[in-house]
Symmetry: C2
Subunit: 446 residues, 2 copies
């Protein structure tokens, strides 16, 4: 084992040296040969783990991503065709198969983007140029969706599983790259939109360059995922985990594929990230591919064993929360709520400073008795319309001093459509009417 | 008992007849004598119960209120001075004493209003008129607060207790009258504001008339409360009920009085309306004043015995609610929330259609891993500022298509000031930016 460890240590040292030399500005082509030699001794599954270690040693995820550009390119030859094989093994609708199939679409579109951009540059005919630009606009518009669908599913549904297992660096490196690609495509769309603001030559030069970069980054990511990320997932994730992923995928959506339903079996319990045992058992270890076994042996992985559900927590379906947290949430809401139950009785109101004050004495009181007698008839009409399903909201607004009060009543129903009660929501919308322009997270100053 | 019942039945019939005749347009002064005779046989505590019965028989609360104007006026002579006696019996800070003391202030201000309005009419000197108008403006401004404080406390804190006991008609009649008074004072304020839009003579005539009406209505209500409502309360409410009322009074506020703390004893449990036994026991019945005993004997009161707390309900401090209702409330909120706990882990997000979609896989995930790596540093800075108490919110806004997204982060703390976590609130403010003018409850159309 010491030998293996030393071997990995050696490889890591070599990779680190290369990385520093790339950073130092050395010619990448010159380094390619040395890099190929080092890589030949590393399995695809070992790379993310070494990256992980390098991140721990203080090298930024951004720098690692730069190194990856090079090693993935070199890697291409060695593992070419693997994706085809992997994909064929998987049943239709399996989330991993869907990812592979989407990558084929992405690869195709990336190649198209590059091809059309080059063709545009050599086309003299104005009508033809117009047509090509039309295709490019459509293509760029399509590619924007890669970020919302394919990447977003990975970031939101799949990364949590590898993060729990301590492999957070893989997630961070990929997400950094995803964001770079999102930005590149956004920039391309902007360039297309503003093409009339510059000369044709300027546009052409800039577009060809940026399209080439985006196409390369997209296909590079396909390669990275197919050959490093997906095999890692295949080796680590259980049926229950894939089942949970499949159950949530449709909410986010797909890139140009329509996966059928897939269920590994009714007896398989869907496993959410907080439900898995992130530590690999001996049996699991032995069933892993050799490369992963080797890599894991010398790896002091920081498993995430935190428990989500605490004693006394309320299971709200979308989270586990304590009564104390719940109270604080209702108090912090920028809206006041009051809930009357199916029998028209006040059952709950949000605590804290309110626009219309409420005291505990109102609990259990029929809503009809909580209003000036003059307006009871209308209250009853609204409730009748809600209960009979004729109305799904009633809204009102009025000025009181500096405040512009917006009041909304909504009927609540359970899953079977049974009336549960009505919620009164009150808020001051005056501050929102003042808001102009944008203020984004990255603009925040301490 | 049959005799007593018949006696009440007889009195009720007489009152009903009188009411119908007043309604029919008969001269009130003529009816006064007959009315006096009928009233002489009815105790102050019996009146609300008869009113109650009349309401049950289909006579509107509004009509009853009209009849009350007459009977209260007649009543004045018979029960004059009672309030002074009642008030002296009560300890300082007792909610009932506070009500009596406020009524002294209200009576004084109502008399002042009438006096100054009359003086204004006879004043020729312009400077003097200005001074009197100044006093009147201040007075009307003060009197506006009667509705927010004295009446509001009665409507919100005290009515629920008598409603539970089945005496809803008293509450409805008083509230109708309160609202009439609120409207009168509002109209007076408006008249003062718009005095330059009409001739002095016109203003004077209108103001004198309206001020007289308001002053009468205010003092009439004082009389009604002191002689009918408060004695009823004194006879029915227990120490625990007054304790619960006292605990909530400060939230609403007072009219020109500052009651000291009052506690009937540490051993006395505060009783909220839903916690009382609304049915009177034999012992309680026997300890009531004779008049109430008589009145209750023949009274088929509809006690409100509904239970507020159901099996499995969560006690949120300001209500008892089921998990199912809670889920439906979060789904219906016009804001999306995501809660990260004190360890920066996502613990809960509101379900349903959201601006930024969330899947269950995010639960338990450290918030730092839920953001594009580029923005992690800022997320950490914000959380640090929250945990150290340097910031109490961070807000952002951006346009996405038709939506104008407003994002707010707020740190949550428990009662001891310990950090519980941070809440992310997201909402689309575009619809609120479109809202103009007012739309009030009474404008609602089915």
């Amino acid at each position: 084992m010491t030998e293996l460890l030393n071997n990995r240590e050696y490889k890591k040292e070599q990779l680190k040296k290369l990385l520093l030399r790339i950073h130092g500005g050395e010619d990448v082509n010159k380094l390619k040969e040395e890099f190929r030699q080092v890589l030949s001794g590393i399995s695809p599954l070992e790379i993310p783990i070494i990256e992980q270690e390098l991140v721990k040693e203080g090298i930024s995820a951004r720098d690692i991503a730069k190194m990856c550009d090079l090693h993935v390119e070199l890697f291409r030859e060695a593992v070419k065709g693997t994706d085809e094989l992997e994909e064929r093994d998987l049943p239709d609708g399996h989330p991993l198969k869907t990812l592979y199939l989407e990558n084929k679409e992405i690869m195709k579109d990336a190649e198209m983007l590059n091809l059309y951009a080059r063709t545009l540059a050599t086309t003299k005919d104005k009508r033809m140029r117009g047509e090509i630009l039309g295709v490019l606009e459509e293509l760029v518009n399509d590619l924007k969706k890669v970020g919302f669908t394919h990447y977003n599913r990975e970031e939101m549904l799949i990364f949590p599983y590898i993060e729990r297992r301590g492999l957070t660096a893989i997630a961070t490196v990929l997400w950094t790259k995803h964001d770079e690609i999102r930005f590149m495509i956004k920039r391309l769309a902007e360039l297309l939109r503003k093409k009339d603001e510059m000369s044709w030559e300027e546009f052409l030069e800039r577009f060809k360059e940026k399209a080439g970069e985006a196409a390369f980054a997209l296909s590079d990511m396909v390669f990275r995922e197919n050959n490093i990320f997906y095999p890692t997932l295949k080796a680590l994730l259980s049926k229950g985990e894939w089942k949970a992923i499949r159950q949530q995928e449709d909410e986010i959506g797909y890139y140009k594929v329509n996966p059928p339903a897939w269920d590994p079996g009714e007896d398989v319990k869907p496993l959410h990230p907080w439900e898995i045992n992130p530590e690999l058992s001996v049996e699991e270890l032995l069933s892993l591919p050799k490369e992963v076994q080797q890599a894991l042996k010398g790896q002091p992985l920081e498993f995430d064993k935190s428990e989500l559900k605490r004693e006394g927590d309320i299971d709200l379906g979308t989270g586990y929360i304590s009564v104390e947290e719940l109270k604080a949430i209702f108090e912090a809401l920028p809206v006041d709520v009051t809930f009357i139950d199916k029998d028209d009785r006040v059952r709950f109101f949000s605590p804290g400073e309110r626009i219309f004050s409420r005291t505990k004495s109102v609990l259990g009181r029929p809503v009809q008795l909580c209003h000036p007698p003059k307006s009871v008839q209308i209250v009853n009409k609204i409730l009748k319309a809600f209960k009979e399903g004729r109305k799904s909201e009633a809204t009102f607004w009025l000025r009181i001093g500096e405040k512009y009060i917006y009041i909304k009543y909504v009927p609540l129903f359970d899953k079977e459509g049974t009336y549960l009660g009505t919620l009164e929501i009150t808020m001051d919308i005056a501050p929102y009417k003042q808001i102009e322009d944008e203020k984004r997270l990255l603009d925040w100053r301490d």
